[in-house]
């Protein structure tokens, strides 16, 4: 066994990759929000997004 550390490292990487694929992980930056009220379906404009990146060039408010 010439490279025990690399083997361990590789097996862990494979395991994590397999887990990621199974659990459906992704690299997308997502902000989770809880308890969004059902009223959003009637009034989508009232929903305020909590997502960071918005190219707000000339938005008011």
């Amino acid at each position: 066994m010439k490279h025990p550390l690399y083997l361990l490292y590789g097996v862990m990487l494979l395991g994590l990759t397999g887990l990621a694929e199974y659990r459906g992980w992704s690299l997308l930056r997502v902000n989770e929000v809880k308890n969004v009220p059902k009223s959003v379906r009637d009034n989508p404009g009232a929903y305020r997004s909590h997502y960071g990146y918005i190219p707000r060039f000339f938005r008011g408010k």
């Binding site: 490292y9 397999g18 990621a20 459906g24 992980w25 918005i54």
Partner: protein, 435 residues
């Protein structure tokens, strides 16, 4: 039966200081430790072969008379010399310790910058092959590569020798290496002697001679110093191959066993010039099964324009929402180099680990205020594999073997930097195993 051979105690014929001859009848010349004159040990009057000369006294690291075990046999240090070569105007000196055992004969311990070698003279003459890029020597089935040729001058002597030694003696030395061994060919006008050395660390020498303190630290990489990476480079790349194959297998399994089920598809249009509320919600769709990914893909008909989509994937029952955004930009044209394109008309985002349930999308598109209307399609797929993680894992797997290879190559370059071949491409063709 002859009586026990005696160690001889004498007095220097030049300065009168006492001296001892330890190598019995082998010794031909002995150096007075006090005045540094070289005396003829076979002459009853100890005639002076070379007078005392003002020269800087060198202190041997292993004192004369010290005994140690080399290859299982006891040896005594009986002689010491310093030899110097001049390469490109620079002087390099190394030490040689003459070791003696009355039953086993002589051997040498050489030292240079903390690197040691156990050297014996050879009977058999190696074959030298001067054809090819660099000369090579062959002995007992092993091939040695030429490392350096230089003229060595004896610059300091101490103790006794089985030949008539003199400060200023010169010999042409050719070294060939096959780590951890080194073959040296020394020729003077009248004779040629070959010797074979094997690398020793300072720690091994200190252990063999039970010397106090610690050995001098080794600097740089020595000609025949064995590489710690021998075999490791091949081994780690072999393991990399196996691991990468397994990663491909993981990828194939991921692509085979993920559902990639399309759960929603609809066309929309957005006109930034029209006023009013731009955000809207889609119909509810179902995401089934274990918590897995949900991919939202937006395909547009953008032409030299951009659009930004603010998304929220909202669970209709629990109120759990996942906020994310996507920018789509598509620019193209022709210039002097031909057609060019930047971006693309579609993009997708994969929301991770979404539990099963009934969901809808809240969508808020945005474009330049005066832009033309855009038509786009939203497609949602459930349980989609991530190519990104596979690439990341493949990249991370590459790091250790690349790192090891670089270190092996650097070690080899440091070795050959000291050779006659330093300025040329130092990577020798047949050094597949580092070296």
């Amino acid at each position: 039966m002859s009586a026990s051979a005696q160690v001889r105690a004498l007095n220097c014929s030049s300065c009168g200081a006492p001296l001892t001859v330890r190598a019995f009848q082998h010794t031909l010349s002995v150096v007075c430790g006090n005045c540094l004159s070289v005396l003829d040990a076979k002459d009853p009057n100890l005639r002076v072969l070379q007078r005392f000369q003002e020269r800087q006294r060198v202190l041997p690291r292993i004192p004369m008379g010290t005994r140690g075990k080399v290859r299982g046999d006891p040896y005594e240090v009986v002689g010491f010399q310093v030899r110097t070569i001049t390469v490109d105007g620079e002087q390099y000196s190394w030490s040689e310790y003459l070791l003696f055992n009355p039953y086993k004969g002589f051997r040498y311990l050489t030292e240079y910058q903390g690197h040691w070698n156990d050297v014996v003279t050879l009977r058999n003459v190696p074959e030298v092959d001067t054809g090819g890029q660099r000369p090579r020597a062959r002995l007992l089935g092993e091939t040695y590569d030429h490392f350096q040729t230089a003229e060595a001058e004896t610059t300091f002597v101490l103790g006794e020798f089985p030949w008539q030694v003199r400060v200023g003696d010169r010999a042409m030395v050719m070294d060939f290496v096959s780590p951890p061994r080194i073959l040296s060919r020394e020729s003077t006008g009248s004779e040629t002697v070959w010797s074979l050395g094997e690398y020793m660390t300072g720690a091994q020498v200190w252990q063999a001679f039970q010397l106090p303190g610690g050995p001098p630290a080794a600097q740089g990489v020595f000609a025949n110093q064995p590489s710690p990476y021998t075999g490791k480079v091949r081994g780690i790349w072999g393991l990399w191959g196996i691991l990468t194959l397994l990663l491909v297998l993981v990828g194939l399994l991921a692509y085979t066993f993920t559902g990639r089920e399309e759960v929603f598809r609809r066309m929309y249009s957005f006109s930034p010039r029209a006023g009013g509320e731009v955000s809207f919600v889609t119909d509810v769709f179902e995401l089934k099964g274990r918590p897995s990914s949900a991919e939202v893909k937006v395909s547009t008909d953008l032409s030299n324009n951009w659009a930004y989509f603010q998304f929220a994937l909202i669970n209709a029952d629990t109120g759990q929402a996942y906020d994310f955004g996507r920018e789509v930009s598509h620019y193209f044209g022709r210039d002097s180099d031909g057609a060019w394109r930047e971006g693309g008309p579609s993009d997708s985002a994969t929301v991770p680990a979404v539990p099963a349930g009934r969901y809808y999308l809240r969508v808020e598109p945005e474009m330049d205020a005066g832009a033309a209307a855009m038509r786009y399609e939203l497609v949602v797929r459930r349980d989609v594999p991530s190519l990104g993680f596979l690439f990341i894992a493949a990249g991370l797997l590459l790091i250790p073997p690349i790192f090891t290879t670089v270190r092996a190559v650097v070690f080899s370059q440091r070795r050959w930097a000291e050779s006659d071949y330093a300025s040329t491409d130092s990577d020798d063709g047949d050094s597949g195993d580092d070296d």
